[in-house]
């Protein structure tokens, strides 16, 4: 089959990034389970190796092009015209990088906290890493679905085996919710194949489907993506899964897994069903605004540290979907950037909670107090991430939320105003949390905890750097997506919008 995507020479960066963790996991299976240290070092080496392997994506990415880059295509199942095809564009490239970073940090944060079934734990983490990168890199719908679903297995085990007291319930709930959404998407994938005869995503993005079919497919894919994001009203699996999962599991869920839903909207819904997306955008905006405010209000009454951060994800992901479905340059770029930001910030917050939980073994906010004098370095880190989560200027959260609210205003004034109140609610619950945990008198339950170690500082530092890097110089990251988002908008709104968007883009800069 002729390469339809981008006939440059086959690169092997993405396949390496997918296969390296999987092969490392396979190698781990052969190692004696008692040798914990060896297992940990192999897992760390594999994840750092993978981080190095994806560096070319950052350095060699052509930011001026909206095409797929680093494309690889091989025949796979010819009976159904399925190819192994991977590649990245401005939307997905940053997520591949983020996945590699987060996986490495997950290995680091679990170093001492996971003591039971160590071998299986790192095998699961590495499988998840391979599948995550696969989801963001796949350019064939069948391949995409394979990775999308395959990820459920290690994730289910991660929550169910190493999770908290109520882990069984949370694991099954997570699995069934996600699977229900996914199988409906599967039928959508099948339907697309039957109508068009191809699974090739790039070709499908340039295929005009009839409007009624677009609507049907939009809802089929919506089922899968909305559950993953999670959008109101299918968000109820998220607090349970995030709360019960081990630290590494919460980080992966918050930083990467829930981004897959929003990524799905950008990769499938908008380019493949543009008319349906436009028609349904108001409904999506409404759902997003509900998620922002409802998620925020629920946070106000949470007593559990992890549960609060979990619900804040519902609110923040509401911003992301609002940005995406505002269907303009600022909104979409803000949405994508906010996905990265949320991955960084919430990932960091869950890492922090994991670190303190490892010491105190409690997640109740009431059990804390005065932590700032007990663990000063830790408190400093946590404060930065708290402010980033609130969206203080200078941190990455500000840039993302600002762009989204700007995009929201442009699309619909009411939505913009309501979203802005969400920011205020966000400040309320995050500051309350910070005050209750770190200030007031020292709670005797946590008195005498040791501060974070060098390993833990190393774990948090990359995310801290990203907070300020994106906060002060977002251009380094939005630059990746400009061309792709602009071309997506042209497709959505037709040619006459193009000139306008270039203008707006120049102004925003």
């Amino acid at each position: 089959m002729i390469n339809t995507v981008c006939p440059i020479e086959q690169s092997c960066v993405l396949t390496t990034a997918i296969l390296l963790p999987v092969l490392a996991a396979a190698a781990l299976m052969l190692i004696n389970r008692e040798r914990h240290t060896t297992i940990k070092w192999i897992a760390l080496a594999a994840s750092i190796g993978n981080l190095i392997a994806v560096v070319p994506l950052f350095t060699n990415f052509d930011k001026t092009s909206a095409r797929m880059q680093f494309v690889e295509q091989y025949r796979w199942i010819e009976a159904w015209h399925i190819n192994y095809c991977v590649g990245v564009d401005g939307i997905s490239v940053l997520f591949v990088l983020l996945s590699a970073i987060i996986a490495t940090l997950c290995v680091l944060v679990s170093w001492n906290s996971v003591k039971d079934k160590v071998k299986e734990f790192y095998i699961a983490i590495l499988f998840i890493e391979g599948a995550m990168i696969g989801v963001f890199a796949a350019l064939d719908m069948f391949l995409f679905y394979m990775f999308w679903e395959a990820m459920l297995i290690p994730m289910y085990l991660l929550i169910g085996v190493w999770g908290g007291p109520n882990r069984l319930y949370a694991a099954v709930k997570f699995f069934l919710y996600t699977l229900t959404g996914s199988v409906l998407m599967l039928l959508g994938v099948v339907a697309i194949y039957i109508v068009t005869g191809t699974f090739d995503m790039v070709r499908l993005m340039n295929t005009q489907l009839p409007f009624n079919l677009q609507m049907l497919l939009f809802w089929a894919f919506f089922a899968a993506f909305a559950v993953k994001v999670p959008m109101f009203p299918v968000h109820t699996w998220l607090p349970d899964a995030h709360t019960e999962a081990p630290a590494a599991g919460s980080v992966i869920l918050a930083a990467i897994l829930i981004k897959m839903g929003a990524y799905g909207f950008l990769r499938f819904s908008l380019p493949m069903f543009p008319d349906a997306s436009q028609a349904m955008a108001p409904a999506m905006v409404v759902l997003s605004v509900i998620a922002i405010i409802y998620g925020g209000i629920i946070c106000l009454s949470q007593k559990d540290l992890k549960r609060l951060i979990a619900y804040s994800s519902v609110s923040h992901m509401g911003f992301v979907t609002l940005g995406i479905f505002s269907l303009n340059m600022q909104g979409m770029e803000g949405g994508i950037l906010q996905m990265i930001n949320h991955g960084v910030i919430t990932g960091a917050l869950f890492l922090c909670v994991g670190m303190v939980y490892e010491r105190s073994h409690t997640r109740e906010i009431a059990d804390y107090g005065g932590l700032a004098s007990v663990m000063p370095i830790f408190s400093a880190f946590f404060m930065v991430f708290t402010f980033a989560s609130i969206g203080l200027p200078g941190t990455n959260g500000f840039v993302g939320e600002f762009l989204i609210i700007l995009g929201g205003f442009t699309a619909n004034k009411t939505a913009g105003i309501l979203a802005a109140t969400g920011v205020i609610i966000g400040a309320v619950y995050m500051l309350c949390l910070y005050q209750q945990v770190f200030y007031t008198g020292v709670n005797e339950k946590i008195a005498g905890l040791c501060d974070i170690t060098l390993r833990e500082i190393v774990t948090l530092l990359p995310l801290l750097i990203l907070v300020f890097w994106i906060g002060f110089y977002p251009g380094a990251f939005t630059g990746f997506m400009d061309a792709t988002v602009a071309s997506l908008l042209v497709k959505l709104k037709g040619g006459e919008m193009h000139a306008l968007n270039t203008l707006i883009q120049a102004v925003v800069r």
């Binding site: 679903e149 297995i153 069984l168 694991a171 069934l176 699977l179 199988v183 039928l187 099948v190 039957i194």
Partner: protein, 481 residues
């Protein structure tokens, strides 16, 4: 597929090998004390028959009574894989139950011979002969552990309900003969094409009766009542054997009789079968939710899988048929794999038939636990396991034939099925072992069978091309048009 000059017997090569294998085993059994020899001989013979499929010739023999074509070869492949793996997993269990008699292997072989005749039947009489040979052998197998009342009860139940279904089949055949004046499938097809039977009540009644009889064999609801009791009571290796063989044979005749002989009545039987398929998926999956016994759970799961496989037949296209065949092929590996894990946990003192007995298996026996995990996720239909490919193909054929609603129901039921398959995984990995030092009954043969199953489940899941093409080609080579 030109009729070759060679002796027509070459077209019967696999059948002849299997038939003589059965007879030789009977003789050897009479003179040999060590029954392992019989088992080894049976395995060698089954492997020989397996490879003979390559050299068999295509064509029609005995005046259209017997058809050797790509379609039948595909099913024979499933039967042989089932036979070989069943022989491999049986030995230890029978020994532990003090029931290692040579006849066991003879019965397995003759039952397989019956299935082969069913798959190759070009005439309703041949079909009936094959079905009876298969069924009678399996009745005896179900009651093979004579001192176990449950096993005997299973055999009697199976015999009575099976006899009932045979009666329905015969009634259906006789009515069809009354309408068309022939037993030969081609002549029947030609008659229906020429005269048309739409609205003929006798033809419709015959269609209904045939559907009922075949539904019995594939264990479709509402003809599934025997399944849980028989599967639970029968010796576990026999359960594994008959959860695949008779079911696949049932699908083989369903495909040939309905899709080809009665193709002009596809509107009628598609309707009947689609209702059966929905009921089967619904009852199978929902009933499996509440089972605590692993064999009963797998019995209901086997019912449910018949429902998924039926979707391909309902689609009534060559693509649908090959999807069903592909599904059965994959199902063979994942189901025998799951049953071999059940067998390995069964020791002389402790039967380990409750799902709660699997608690902590992932910790005490990591490899076995991982294998069971693979089979459970495959049965759920999660990629990259083979079960996903099977379902994907079936759903695709259904959507292409306009049965989108059926596909939607099917995916919803597979989400429900995730719940009880996951429960096994949950017990294995998320609960602590309850019994200290869970002992296993292991042998090289059963270990090898487990390895083969796990390998194929993963291999088909990742590289399905060859297997899908194979099922497609088999349908293309169906000797009919």
């Amino acid at each position: 597929m030109q009729i070759s000059e060679l002796s027509p017997l070459l077209k019967l090569l696999p059948e002849m090998i299997v038939a003589s294998l059965g007879l030789v085993l009977l003789m050897v059994d009479a003179f040999v004390k060590r029954k392992e020899v019989v088992a080894g001989l049976a395995l060698a013979g089954a492997l020989a028959a397996f490879f003979s499929l390559k050299f068999g010739d295509f064509g029609v023999v005995f005046g259209g009574m017997f058809i050797s074509d790509g379609y039948s070869v595909f099913f024979k492949l499933i039967f042989f894989i089932n036979l070989i793996l069943s022989i491999m997993i049986s030995g230890r269990y029978l020994k532990d139950e003090n029931s290692l008699h040579g006849e066991y292997y003879c019965l397995l072989v003759f039952s397989t011979l019956g299935m082969m005749v069913m798959a190759s039947a070009g005439n309703l009489i041949t079909l009936y002969l094959g079905l009876e040979l298969m069924a009678l052998s399996t009745y005896v197998l179900a009651g093979f552990v004579r001192h176990d009342t449950k096993s005997t009860e299973a055999a009697v139940k199976y015999f009575l309900t099976g006899g009932f279904s045979t009666a329905l089949l015969l009634y259906g055949i006789s009515l069809l003969y009354g309408v068309t004046g022939s037993m030969d499938l081609r002549t029947i097809a030609a008659y229906i094409a020429q005269h048309g039977v739409s609205g003929n009540p006798m033809a419709l009644l015959s269609l209904v009766l045939l559907s009922c009889a075949f539904a019995f064999k594939i264990a479709a609801v509402p003809f599934h009542m025997w399944v849980p009791d028989v599967y639970e009571g029968a010796p576990t290796p026999v359960t594994a054997f008959m959860s695949i063989g008779p079911k696949a044979a049932g699908f083989a005749v369903l495909g040939r009789v309905f899709l080809y002989a009665l193709s002009n009545m596809s509107v009628e039987w598609s309707l009947i079968l689609s209702v059966l398929s929905i009921l089967t998926m619904c009852v199978g999956n929902v009933m499996a939710l509440v089972q605590t016994n692993i064999k009963r759970m797998l019995a209901y799961s086997s019912v449910a899988h018949a429902g998924y496989a039926l979707i391909g037949i309902v689609a009534a296209t060559p693509e649908g048929l090959s999807a069903t065949m592909n599904y059965l092929f994959i199902y063979t590996f994942m189901n025998i794999g799951a049953f071999s894990v059940v067998l390995m946990l069964h020791t002389k003192d402790f039967k380990a038939l409750e799902i709660s007995d699997y608690a902590g298996l992932g910790k005490t026996h990591p490899i076995l636990g991982a294998a069971m995990l693979v089979f459970m996720f495959s049965l759920t239909g999660i990629p990259p396991m083979a079960g996903f490919i099977g379902k994907f193909y079936v759903f695709m054929s259904a959507v292409r034939s306009g049965y989108l609603w059926l596909a939607i129901l099917a995916v919803i039921f597979s989400v429900i099925s995730a719940f009880f398959y996951l429960r096994v995984v949950m017990y294995m990995y998320m609960k602590e072992p309850q019994r200290p030092g869970m002992e296993l009954t292991s042998s090289h043969a059963i270990g090898a069978a487990l390895a083969v199953c796990a390998t194929f489940v993963l291999l088909i899941g990742v590289m399905p091309e060859r297997f899908v093409e194979f099922a497609k080609a088999a349908v293309k080579m169906l000797y009919f048009q």
